[in-house]
Subunit: 252 residues, 2 copies
């Protein structure tokens, strides 16, 4: 059996996240359906991450084993023919048998997109957080930089996560503006449940004067969820990069 | 009565263009509905351009006269409350009584967006032309430059247009790439019916080897619609800038 690594994009608006659930449509389920339609066999697919309900992916990786003889270069076309328009596979490669989309992953990068005007943008509905008050991106960038380093982020996790080790290493975190768009971007070796959305809520709380940027190291240290900011809405969040080994897979 | 200049964005996917038609939903009609809901009076709104069915606008200008006392700075919020999510007003200003959104316009700029990969992008469905074969943006840019200048563009117009003078002055025309996205952009003092879409179809025909880029001046000169390229689909096209007088209104 070949072990195939699939890379795709998806608009998460219509899905309750990646992972199969009862009574809710998820990306994993729809993707497993497409494999079954293509090969006649239902395979279990391993995703690189659970993404929350409504979160998007510019790059999402998963792997599955198959006896299908379809060549890798044809696989994206073959799968896309059975997938809805809001999911699109753009790469397929054969990987060693012990490759695991989640455990082999060395780092992930997320981007959170903010439309920083008082007026909705017809092209960004459900794709950006609309934030009416003008943000000072330099202030937010300084606040974001406080997250860089190896910390116990358990104060930046919603309850419901199952991991025991809550120490993560953030290698990049920053905020930049492009016209009326403001982007929060963070890369780490792993993320706790809702961690990026709470980081975003925290820097937005700095913008609102409810949290002092200088206190962020203290807040991290305190491990107290109550002291961090609110959980920013899911629809502004995108998984942007998934990295394996030393080699960076940078597609967008 | 005040004469108000309104600036908005809209996603044209659901509309049969700007102009009111029988038996089809148009942006003008929906916008006039919103004024009527807001002020109780149905006003006739003058648009800066008819846009084709399915064409989008990052910036669209229109004007109307009203006795409403709502201050300009509140007007975008007031109108947006009565508009669907795919239309968003972001500016309102009072203009002289003789201002006319179409006749006072000195130039317009359009952008045509191409997603240049073999795979659809879930975020660009109905918003970009998907063009699978890798485009050479430098070749296309050279072809696009041939349109610059004052020419009789009657060979670059679909039948159905009503104008008699088909001479237009193109002040900018170019093609650039940003990752997997390719943008064709053109500015002129005016455009004939389908003119931008036929220009795009012509540079794509150059990419496909069906038209020699060096022949574009001849094709323009010939005034022969048959010699120009196909009419590119509407859904990749956006009105991007509308300029009045010497002052450029550059919002996106």
């Amino acid at each position: 059996m070949r072990n195939l690594l699939i890379t795709m994009r998806y608009d998460g608006s219509a899905y309750h996240g990646w992972q199969v659930q009862q009574n809710a449509v998820t990306v994993q389920q729809v993707f497993q359906d497409s494999i079954e339609k293509l090969t006649g066999v239902r395979e279990n697919v391993t995703g690189c991450s659970r993404t929350d309900s409504g979160v998007h992916a510019l790059m999402y990786c998963c792997n599955f084993r198959t006896n299908s003889k379809i060549p890798c270069e044809r696989m994206p076309f073959a799968l896309n023919a059975h997938l809805p328009d809001d999911i699109s596979v753009y790469d397929c490669r054969e990987v060693p048998d012990d490759f695991h989309a989640r455990y082999s992953c060395t780092s992930k990068r997320y981007i959170y997109k903010i439309w920083n005007t008082p007026f909705r943008n017809p092209f960004y509905n459900g794709k950006y957080l609309v934030y009416p008050k003008k943000l000072d991106e330099e202030q937010l960038d300084r606040a974001a930089k406080s997250f860089i380093g190896t910390h116990d982020f358990c104060g930046f996790a919603s309850s419901g996560g199952s991991v025991e080790d809550t120490v993560r290493t953030v290698t990049y975190c920053g905020v930049r503006r492009c016209g009326d768009e403001v982007f929060f971007e963070v890369e780490a070796d792993g993320f706790l449940y809702n961690m990026v959305r709470i980081m975003v809520g925290t820097v937005l709380s700095v913008a609102e004067g409810r949290i002092d940027a200088l206190c962020i190291p203290d807040i991290i240290e305190s491990k107290d969820r109550e002291r961090a900011g609110f959980t920013a809405p899911a629809h502004g969040l995108y998984l942007k990069e998934v990295n394996y080994g030393g080699e960076k897979e940078k597609k967008e």
